[in-house]
């Protein structure tokens, strides 16, 4: 036992002290934050960019004033101007673009054009489309000669926003959000895939390094091969956990700082609004509808999302994540260790890598599908089968999984990883001392049956 801890310490210390580890550990959360913040900033900039758009119609006056101005958009309804002339000069005249509406639009949906130098933002297009759709519907309705049409229209104007409520066995009711469950499923599934794969591959490289530098024979004259293998696997697992915890810590810190600054500065609330809008349009609109009288609906919405997120079964998710990380990593790392021991250099690993990468990439794909349809039978089976279950199960968890399924999955996982570690140790023991021979799966199968 003592010897394993010496090996673990070396594996851990040499990796943690590497420059690349320190850089990655600090840089990754910054990159993650950038991935979230940059699109927000871009969205903000777009919305704040003031745009003036010229509107030309072939039947002047038909749609006049239909597309309303907003804070950042101004529509100029021009008459007696030819499209061809304006096309050349609209930029000098200070217009962002020209909206050309044909009278045929009532019957032909695409009889409308937006001409601009740049790709127009989607928000602008949606604004124009929805305004015109409404107007045309209204005009069509008017042809039926209904009395008090305007009043009726106002009355029937409806918004629907589904509030999802989850009820557990004890009858406790929780407000949930599919958006948050999806985000969480995506994040944990992907993170699991990354952690298992990256650190599993590190084990393989470590084994190859020891084999090619011939250091391995010196070590196995002091410790048992399985001690060396397990020491390496555990040491690298600890490196992974360390990095993971630092990431969690830094991310929570960054989010905390952001939240504080956003809630403090009123002019920045739009950031939140934009973030939430992109994630959960429905909730946003609901909040706007029900809390319109409040001075700062965005803040209310923001905290609502936070509450929603807090309603996730965090305890279960974290415990399961750690369980599946440890067992899943042990499973794959032991396969990687066996492969590393069987080859003479890294290029030779190719032939063995494919059968190993297929299940884990399949798992990731199923996990992504799980977000669309958490109850599908494919997701169900893949969350039980040990090679795919770590990634798929953690992706299923935010949507609620019956306890018996988790129990079965965990049981299978434990049995399988023990079997794999045992087999890997046998292959490893023989492989590390074999040089210059091209190894095949068949050869590895033979090593499995060599005696001590």
């Amino acid at each position: 036992m003592n010897k394993i801890s010496i090996i673990i310490k070396r594996e851990y210390m040499t990796r943690v002290r590497k420059k690349s580890f320190i850089i990655m550990t600090i840089l990754a959360p910054v990159l993650m934050a950038a991935i979230i913040i940059v699109p927000t900033l871009v969205m903000m900039n777009q919305d704040q960019d003031f745009k003036k758009i010229a509107v030309i119609q072939d039947t002047p006056g038909l749609f006049k004033g239909v597309v309303p101005n907003t804070k950042n958009l101004e529509f100029d309804y021009l008459e007696n101007v030819k499209l061809e002339d304006l096309q050349k000069t609209f930029q000098q005249a200070g217009y962002y673009g020209i909206l050309f509406i044909s009278s045929e639009l009532v019957n032909t949906p695409n009889a409308i054009r937006l001409i601009s130098k740049q790709q127009p933002p989607i928000a602008l297009l949606q604004h124009i489309e929805s305004s015109l759709e409404k107007e045309i519907e209204k005009q069509k309705l008017m042809t039926y000669n209904i009395q008090n049409l305007d009043e009726i229209m106002k009355n029937v104007e409806t918004k629907v926003s589904i509030q999802t409520i989850k009820i557990d066995d004890s009858g406790k009711v929780k407000e949930t959000s599919t958006g948050i469950a999806m985000a969480l499923a995506y994040l944990s599934g992907f993170l699991m895939y990354m952690l298992v794969f990256i650190f599993g591959a590190q084990v393989m490289r470590g084994v190859i390094e020891e084999k090619t530098s011939r250091v391995v024979e010196v070590i196995v004259s002091s410790v048992k091969p399985i001690q060396l293998m397990m020491g390496k696997i555990i040491g690298i697992a600890l490196v992974g956990l360390t990095q993971f915890l630092i990431w969690v810590f830094l991310t929570v810190g960054i989010v905390g700082v952001l939240k504080a600054t956003i809630l403090k500065k009123d002019n920045l609330t739009e950031v939140t609004q934009n973030v939430t809008k992109s994630v959960m349009t429905n909730d946003q609109q609901a909040a706007m509808g029900t809390q319109a009288s409040q001075i700062n609906p965005q803040m209310a919405e923001f905290s609502r999302i936070f509450d929603n997120a807090m309603n996730q079964p965090w305890g279960l998710i974290i415990i399961c994540f750690i369980f599946y990380f440890i067992t899943g990593y042990l499973l794959y790392a032991s396969i990687f260790a066996a492969i590393g021991s069987a080859v003479d250099n890294e290029t030779e690993t190719q032939q063995f890598m494919l059968p190993v990468t297929i299940p884990i990439i399949l798992a990731l794909m199923v996990a992504m599908g799980t977000m669309q349809n958490p109850e599908s039978s494919l997701s169900f089976w893949c969350s039980l089968i040990p090679l795919t279950s770590p990634v798929v199960m953690v992706a299923r968890l935010p949507f609620g999984v019956p306890y018996w399924q988790i129990a079965v999955s965990m049981f299978l996982m434990i049995v399988t990883f023990i079997a794999f570690v045992w087999m890997a140790a046998k292959v490893y023991r023989t492989g590390i001392l074999m040089y210059g021979k091209k190894t095949s799966w068949k050869e590895m199968w033979k090593w499995l049956r060599y005696s001590g």
């Binding site: 250091v215 010196v218 070590i219 004259s221 410790v223 040089y435 033979k446 060599y450 005696s451």
Partner: protein, 302 residues
């Protein structure tokens, strides 16, 4: 008493025998040569002694007791295919290996300082291994092999990578270790060093023991009716019915003549003839070199 014994060790890989009932017995404080051509099974035997792999059948004894897992702490092993972690610092690495052999950090530090000084590599303590020359690396490796003061030390080709000066340094260290009570198993293809260092040998070929015993006894057994006569000055000796001249070497004031007698020889008769030819300085049975014996034994089996 034998410090180490291996009895009827058999090891098979698939259908191929790596060792077929091989036995060795290594007396205490002996330098024991484990010889054999490439692929004979030496490395497998050494790995079995180090408990890196287990034998299919056969028994191993250290100090009269069956070899146990903890016994790796009383064995030091310098493998032929040796290596160090390239990116790790020399001192750190030496400490790591010492700790794996059960030394405490403080004790390991103390001994490392002594040995680094003795082998003149103190300045390299903080350097990475990849910055060291091959000879330097070998010295570090040598130290890590013997640092825990093992009772049994196994050297597999210990002199590769050393220049003649350092070879001599290491040779003296090996003799010094024996002096201090260590028993040494020494595997090499360098037969000169076998003659120089080894007391006993075992020669393995194709998984079987084909020659074993005390080095001098073996050489005498293989002497095969050859004698060296050393004369003062340049002397020529003619062959006759009793013996043939194999060769003659002349240097400065001496000439050495090797002759081979036909069958059992009357050495006095030879000497009488020799005395007539010049002044005899010495007359000895010529011992064949281990190199010759090795080649003859192995080739006779093919």
């Amino acid at each position: 008493m034998a410090l180490f014994e291996a009895k009827d060790i058999t090891k098979q890989f698939g259908t191929q025998f790596a060792l077929d009932k091989v036995s060795i017995s290594v007396p205490e404080q002996c330098i024991f040569g484990l010889l054999g051509p490439n692929g004979a099974g030496k490395t497998t035997l050494i790995r079995i002694i180090n408990q890196i792999t287990g034998p299919d059948s056969g028994e191993l004894f250290l100090n009269g007791n069956k070899l146990k897992a903890e016994d790796v702490l009383s064995i030091g092993y310098l493998p032929e295919e040796r290596g160090l972690y390239k990116k790790m610092k020399v001192g750190e690495q030496a400490l790591y290996f010492a700790q794996l052999k059960g030394l405490s950090k403080a004790e390991a530090m103390k001994r490392l300082k002594y040995w680094f000084k003795k082998l003149d590599i103190v300045d390299w303590w903080g350097k990475k291994v990849e910055e060291l020359s091959k000879g330097m690396q070998q010295k570090v490796q040598f130290i890590t092999t013997i640092l825990h003061e093992p009772k049994l030390i196994i050297f597999d080709e210990p002199f590769t990578g050393f220049d003649p000066v350092n070879t001599n340094v290491i040779k003296n260290e090996i003799l010094f270790l024996r002096e201090r009570g260590a028993t040494i198993i020494f595997s090499t293809h360098n037969m000169e060093s076998v003659e120089e260092l080894c007391d006993n040998i075992t020669l393995i070929d194709k998984a079987k023991t084909i020659l074993e015993g005390n080095v001098n006894d073996i050489r005498r057994q293989w002497a095969a009716n050859e004698y060296d006569i050393v004369f003062e000055g340049d002397v020529t000796l003619e062959g006759n019915g009793h013996y043939n001249i194999l060769n003659k070497q002349t240097e400065e004031n001496k000439s050495t003549i090797r002759l081979k007698t036909a069958g059992e020889a009357d050495t006095n008769e030879i000497l009488r003839t020799a005395v007539k030819s010049g002044k005899v300085l010495s007359f000895n049975p010529a011992l064949p070199s281990m190199n010759e014996i090795f080649i003859r034994v192995v080739e006779s089996r093919n």
